[in-house]
């Protein structure tokens, strides 16, 4: 224990978090519905979802501030559900930072160590190390109110990692920062987590935040986990319509499956149809889902199928032009890379919509 907070000691201790069929209701309000998740040792994991989806409730449940009606939570293989918050050793950084205004930065950071009856000299050293780690050693004697939002956030992180928690919980840690700071701080968080190798759970409603710093994401909605996977997997292979539309823009086109000459076709409208690849299963009532950049306008040979459409409107976005195009009775968005000198299609123009089937999926719900 000579070198606390170093990469080697903490990295070796990284533990997993196992959430097994956790249920929670407030009265008739079913907030968490049978959540099953496994967070690997040393992983940077995100709970992502709209407000009210239960992500913060789940995080607070791991910290011990909520009690589940059923199921269990294991940290490093040890069941913690019955433990009060102060016996769990999971460090939490609060959305509001919750720095105590009546204590200096140093005293704030020392607090958890004092509660653990760590010897004084050891406290001094570990506080200094934690503040050093977040680059705030020079502000140790300030009061929290004298710090900027970004600095307060770093103090909150230092205060939490000083106790060398088994797991680090971050509750929307970037939401009280301005847009510019957010980008910087999220890099710092990622960097810190990598150096410590600390199992970290991050709660956010912002998919960009989750995508940029997390190894894996659990997308949540309505008290249930919708899909777990790496940012790329979730984007490319969404498991359902919610995940598809929550992560980035998606075109969702209704239609029906028909058979013609032994081949399966997806008919959007009378006469507007495309072939379904052989290996794809399409359930009853499934909808065609594709990203705006996976379609093209005009004669682009690279696309697998082409459908007739009419331009409704266009938005110039800089590197791309986003068209609203009517295909059959559906309206889809299509991003076309902008090249200077190229004319933009006028509303009302008849166009060919090209689609690559590789990147299209059919989702029933």
């Amino acid at each position: 224990m000579n070198q606390p907070l170093s990469v080697s000691t903490l990295g070796a201790q990284a533990v997993d978090v196992d959430i097994r069929s956790v249920d929670l209701s407030y009265g008739t309000n079913h907030v968490l519905k049978g959540i099953d998740l496994h967070i690997r040792p040393g992983e940077f994991f995100a709970f992502l979802g709209p407000s009210g989806c239960g992500k913060t409730t789940l995080l607070r449940l791991i910290a011990g501030f909520n009690r589940a009606d059923g199921g269990e939570v294991l940290v490093g293989g040890r069941e913690v559900s019955h433990l009060p918050p102060w016996k769990r050793d999971v460090g939490m950084v609060f959305q509001s930072y919750a720095l105590w205004p009546h204590m200096s930065v140093k005293r704030n950071v020392a607090f958890g160590l004092e509660e653990r009856k760590v010897p004084r000299a050891e406290i001094e050293r570990r506080v200094a190390a934690a503040l050093e780690l977040v680059g705030l050693a020079h502000l140790a004697d300030r009061r929290p109110s004298q710090l900027s939002g970004g600095q307060q956030q770093r103090v909150a992180v230092a205060r939490t990692i000083a106790i060398e928690p088994k797991v680090l919980l971050l509750d929307e840690p970037l939401s009280n920062l301005d847009a510019k700071m957010r980008v910087q701080v999220r890099r710092e968080l990622r960097d810190l987590q990598q150096r410590l190798g600390l199992t970290t759970i991050f709660v956010t409603h912002d998919q960009e935040e989750a995508n940029t710093i997390c190894d894996r994401i659990a997308v949540m909605n309505d008290g249930a986990v919708q899909q777990v996977g790496s940012p790329m997997e979730l984007y490319e292979k969404p498991a359902n319509l919610f995940v598809a539309s929550f992560l980035g823009t998606a075109n969702i086109v209704p239609g029906r499956v028909i058979e013609e000459g032994g081949a399966r076709l997806f008919e959007i409208d009378a006469g507007v149809r495309l072939p379904i690849p052989a290996h794809v299963t399409v359930l009853e009532g499934a909808k065609l889902v594709f990203r705006p950049q996976h379609a093209s306008l005009g004669a682009d040979g690279a696309r697998d199928v082409s459908l007739p459409g009419t331009v409704l409107h266009s938005e110039f976005l800089g590197s791309t032009v986003r068209y609203g195009v009517k295909v059959g009775s559906a309206e889809v968005s299509i991003d076309v890379p902008f090249q200077s000198g190229e004319a933009i299609h006028k509303p009302g123009a008849a166009v060919e919509v090209g689609l690559s089937l590789n990147s299209a999926v059919w989702l029933a719900s």
């Binding site: 910290a63 999971v90 609060f94 509001s96 919750a98 720095l99 205004p101 653990r116």
Partner: protein, 579 residues
């Protein structure tokens, strides 16, 4: 933007846009001048006179400290001083014992009736403490209900009301709401994440309370405690009615009324009272400075309320019930007394009658009428002054405008008895054409009440104006409204709720004020309710009608407060959820 950054601070909006109006209009100047004259005449000069007399030799007017030496050499005064300090400090302690459990239980636990407790907690404030004193004597005195029962059952008595104990007990019961209000607010303003962060780092139970909750609530507690200290230190009527004369405020009163307004001792005591007030306020300001611990932030919502375990629940309800019974005892006693035929040496009255009410409505209705007139006028003066001062301070660049605010607020530090003495000394020499001294006119009572209550009304008006974005006024001016029209059509309507709140505070507290009026009332025909009560309560035979009058006073103030509360609610709703 200028508005957003300055909200909550005590200086005018600054920024590039405000530089256009550095010069004040003639109307604003005239207004400022009028307020200055009013404050000078009715606050600064009378108080200045008191201080001047205390430091000058009688007759010659040369500076001297001999009056203070006399004060320090007189055993009675020194004893009175320490008695006052002791009684005030013990009242704070006892009031804290009442307030702490109530504040803690209602803010930290899921407690049925938390609202009710917070509301009932205010009740003692709307009755003058000395009125309760009589009822407390009957309930807790040597031969009061409690001691009679104790003696019958267990053979001993508890000296609740003996000597200084009585003053402490009555004052603590009366003033504990100040601590309750401040402490509850402080506890509620602590973000639950503050507590959760500590738990997350391994802290719980009593350590959590000691290291996090208590320090964060401390400034609020100190604010309430120092207010109680000052109020008790300055109170005149309660010790007098309980026949405790060796305290400072009663001594000042007795010197002036028995020896005369020329005797310097009354003035010396007044200066001591002022100094103690300022000291207590300084302590409070120091405690609050740089410690704005209102920490509720985004996503927060006060300390987490916990479910209580069954035995905790029972203990909590028992504690709350006992405390409420105790602090409401004066009201209960007063009600019983007002219906009692004879109540002496028995736990409960011998019989019940409506005769006292009959007598009060017959003979003493003049007191009620006077009170309504005085308190309304005082409240009116206060909100007019309060609104004007708030406007000048927040919306103009008038040089020295802050001084108006400070001068008006300084009235907080002036005990009623001091203001009364100052008025007597200053205005007794001023005579009307027909030869009657100015000090004997009833309007002087109104002015004293108005000055005493001005700080409270001013803060209400100030807060109301602060909440109005300057851009609302700029929009009106942009559309062609002059400054005066803007104030009338935009500012005043938006401030209405705050102004009304200020009026009610002034009215309700002025209606039960006695310290200053006791010095200034010259005839029964001019006396307000509180004075009438005081006269009634001094004789055993007057207690019944006095109690009836007391009940009427409580109902009057409660009704007015409730009515205005409804009006404020309604106007807030009409304005929408924006404010």
């Amino acid at each position: 933007m200028a508005d957003a950054t300055t909200a909550g601070r005590a200086h005018a909006p600054s920024g590039p846009f405000r530089h256009f109006m550095t010069s004040a209009t003639p109307g604003q100047l005239a207004l400022a001048l009028a307020i200055t004259v009013f404050l000078a005449l009715f606050l600064i000069i009378p108080v200045g006179t008191v201080i001047y007399v205390a430091f000058t030799e009688k007759g010659t007017g040369t500076f001297t400290l001999v009056n203070f030496v006399d004060f320090a050499r007189t055993d009675l005064f020194i004893r009175s001083f320490w008695n006052s300090v002791y009684v005030s400090a013990m009242s704070v302690v006892l009031a804290s014992i009442f307030a702490l459990p109530l504040a803690y239980i209602t803010t930290r636990f899921d407690f049925r009736g938390a609202m009710l407790i917070q509301t009932l907690g205010f009740l003692p404030l709307i009755m003058p403490p000395f009125v309760g004193a009589v009822a407390m004597l009957l309930l807790f005195g040597r031969n009061g209900t409690v001691n009679l029962l104790l003696n019958d059952w267990f053979g001993f008595r508890i000296p609740f009301m003996e000597g200084l104990n009585g003053v402490i007990f009555v004052q603590a019961v009366h003033y504990f709401p100040f601590i309750l209000i401040n402490l509850s607010a402080a506890l509620r303003n602590i973000d639950r994440a503050m507590e959760e962060a500590a738990q997350n780092l391994g802290c719980s139970g009593f350590r959590l309370f000691r290291r996090i909750v208590f320090p964060l609530a401390m400034p609020g507690y100190i604010a309430g405690a120092s207010l109680v200290f000052v109020k008790v230190f300055d109170d005149l009527a309660t010790p007098l009615l309980l026949n405790v004369k060796d305290m400072l405020a009663p001594q000042a009163y007795l010197r002036v009324t028995s020896i005369g307004i020329a005797d310097p001792m009354g003035y010396v005591i007044s200066v001591v009272l002022i100094v103690m007030s300022i000291l207590a306020m300084w302590v409070s300001a120091r405690a609050m400075r740089g410690k704005d611990y209102a920490t509720v932030q985004r996503g927060g919502g006060g300390l987490a309320r916990r479910q209580m375990r069954p035995w905790e629940s029972v203990a909590a309800y028992a504690a709350v019930f006992l405390i409420l019974l105790l602090v409401l005892a004066p009201h209960i006693g007063l009600l019983l007394l007002s219906f009692a035929t004879i109540w002496s040496f028995s736990p409960l009255p011998d019989g019940f009658t409506l005769a006292h009410y009959g007598r009060v409505f017959g003979e003493s209705f003049v007191y009620v009428k006077n009170t309504l007139i005085y308190a309304s006028l005082a409240g009116l003066i206060d909100v007019v002054l309060g609104t004007a001062i708030a406007y000048l301070v927040l919306r103009t660049k008038l040089i020295g405008r802050q001084w108006l605010d400070w001068a008006a607020t300084a009235a907080l530090a002036i005990p009623g008895v001091v203001l009364g003495i100052g008025y007597l000394r200053t205005f007794y020499g001023v005579q009307l054409p027909d030869g009657t001294p100015l000090a004997t006119l009833w309007i002087v009572i109104v002015l004293a009440l108005a000055i005493r209550r001005l700080p409270y009304a001013l803060r209400a008006c100030y807060a109301a104006l602060q909440q109005i974005s300057v851009s609302l006024e700029e929009a009106a001016e942009n559309l062609g409204a002059t400054k005066v029209r803007t104030v009338r059509r935009i500012v005043l309507p938006l401030m209405a709720g705050g102004i009304l709140a200020g009026f009610v505070t002034s009215f309700a507290t002025a209606a039960v004020e006695l310290s200053a009026t006791l010095m200034l009332v010259q005839s029964n025909a001019d006396a307000p309710l509180a004075y009438g009560l005081y006269v009634f309560m001094q004789s055993a035979a007057g207690r019944g009608p006095g109690a009836a009058l007391g009940v009427i006073a409580v109902l009057l103030v409660a009704l007015c407060t409730f009515a205005s509360h409804l009006i404020i609610e309604k106007s807030q709703k009409a304005k929408g959820a924006g404010h």
